[in-house]
């Protein structure tokens, strides 16, 4: 008989096991404890070891076209704002996680791009997004160092930025104070089943029985779904970010070119870059954004970095003589229809999903978590989950 690793018995059954200690798992753990559920979070690595630790911290409305994702972004934006004022150890949650309500500025280089941006802004405004037109000659009032080679733009005062790793860590901390357990470096290797029903997770160290299992494994969520024999086609979409040396505050907003929205919505696997530039509380400037579908290839692509740098210098000529001190890459959890997967999986009762948010997971995490918590306790979710349903992609994995 083969040796088996000793199993640490779990004394109690959790109401919910959250698989994944990134921002989505952390937000879901927090919201679940808020509605009175007992929660265990488990992750194969450290907290924020996946995509959460490799992003920019966007909380954006400006880049969302009308539809379910914008509805979720509006809900999430309200959640971030109300959580920002929560007192936390002598400060506030907002200050602790470097939440900056600085607003976005989307600029168009030519009349065609400006016409497209104007159309999008009009649609967004009907749904409650603040979008304020800024003529080209007024843009320096908002961004003094912006190139004058722009036709015009829109300000989005509701856009925000957060330090994503701090946000996830503090959400997990709040969840733990409410009784949650967080287990790191413990991969989920199997699911406990009672017939069709998912009744917990198995790790090399223990079985964790639970009333419900939430798949918040981000870019790796397809592997957790496969343990239940269901298909959730989340795939990695690689992106690089350049980090400059620390600078005085010279870039006030999150500033990006209007073609970013089209690039996000594209289905191309080839390298695309669209210029996104923003300062941080630490003084560094973050430069994005690239997207390409190359699997989990972690090598650095010089052409991608060159395109990012050139785009940033075109938008902010002042950056020409500024040093880039590092570049990093992450893998966005990409779904074929660019919508996240949220809610119970009727193919595997007891299994729920909160994954596949692509490049918007930081911003969308809190709204997602609220919907998950409502769904778990049998309340009607305040946004219809139908567009996010896990079984919308087609047949199960053949077994």
């Amino acid at each position: 008989m083969p040796d088996r690793p000793p199993r640490t018995p779990t004394s109690t059954t959790s109401d919910l096991v959250v698989v994944g200690a990134g921002i989505v798992g952390a937000a879901c753990a927090y919201h679940a404890t808020r509605v009175g559920l007992s929660v265990t979070v488990v992750d194969s690595g450290p907290i924020t070891g996946g995509t959460t630790g490799a992003g920019e911290g966007n909380i954006l409305l400006s880049d969302k076209e009308p539809g379910p994702e914008l509805d979720l972004a509006l809900l999430s934006n309200r959640q971030w704002r109300s959580l920002a004022d929560l007192p936390l150890d002598g400060t506030t949650f907002g200050r602790a996680v470097e939440l900056e309500t600085k607003g976005g500025l989307v600029v168009a280089t030519g009349p065609a791009a400006l016409a497209g941006l104007t159309r999008l802004a009009a649609q967004q405004r009907e749904l409650g997004v603040e979008a304020i037109a800024v003529p080209g000659d007024r843009l320096p009032d908002f961004e003094p160092h912006l190139t004058d080679d722009v036709a015009g733009g829109y300000r989005y005062p509701q856009d925000m930025q957060v330090q994503p790793m701090l946000a996830a860590a503090h959400l997990l901390r709040l969840a733990r104070r409410a009784g949650a357990t967080v287990l790191t470096h413990e991969p989920v290797t199997g699911l406990l089943r009672d017939g069709e029903r998912v009744t917990g997770v198995r790790t090399p160290r223990r079985d964790i029985p639970a009333g419900a299992v939430l798949n918040a494994a981000g870019t790796w969520a397809g592997e957790i779904a496969a343990l239940a024999g269901v298909r959730v086609p989340v795939a990695p979409r690689r992106g690089y970010i350049l980090v400059t040396e620390p600078l005085p505050p010279i870039i006030r907003h999150k500033v990006y070119l209007a073609d970013y929205v089209a690039d996000v919505a594209s289905d191309s696997a080839a390298l695309q870059t669209s210029t996104v530039v923003e300062g941080t509380g630490a003084g560094t400037v973050l430069i994005g954004a690239s997207r390409e579908r190359v699997g989990f290839d972690r090598t650095i692509s010089l052409p991608a970095l060159r395109q990012l740098a050139a785009g940033a210098v075109r938008l902010f000529p002042v950056l020409r003589d500024v040093a880039v001190i590092r570049a990093y890459r992450g893998f966005r959890p990409y779904c074929p229809d660019h919508l996240p997967v949220i809610g119970p999986d009727r193919r595997a009762p007891g299994l729920h999903h909160a994954c596949g948010h692509e490049g918007a997971g930081i911003g969308l995490s809190l709204g997602t978590a609220r919907l998950v918590a409502q769904s778990l306790i049998g309340e009607p979710p305040e946004i219809d989950l139908h567009p996010f349903r896990p079984d919308r992609f087609g047949p199960e994995v053949p077994r």
Binding site: E245, P246, L247, P248, G283
Partner: protein, 89 residues
């Protein structure tokens, strides 16, 4: 014309001895200078930390150019090295 083997650089106006092949960071360290920058927020002292170009802690202003890594920049005769406060911009 060959470079002198031994020469001087200036640190905040004071001459420091230096040798060919040294970095700015080496010259400062050899002269007993431990810090040549203050942090942006707490104005705390900083000097060499990793010493190999990774950590960006040893930033210094050389000949008017701010935020150079002292541990990587080769010293040249007469270099004007200045303490850097914050981002120095």
């Amino acid at each position: 014309m060959s470079r002198p083997h031994e020469f001087e650089i200036l640190f905040d106006g004071t001459p420091l001895p230096c040798r060919d092949g040294w970095t700015i960071g080496a010259a400062l360290t050899a002269a007993g200078v431990r810090s040549w920058r203050t942090t942006r927020h707490g104005q705390r002292p900083r000097g060499l930390f990793c010493g190999i170009g990774i950590c960006f802690d040893c930033l210094v202003t050389v000949n008017g150019q701010p935020s150079l890594r002292a541990c990587l920049v080769p010293a040249n005769p007469g270099d004007d090295v200045r303490t850097q406060e914050g981002t120095a911009r």
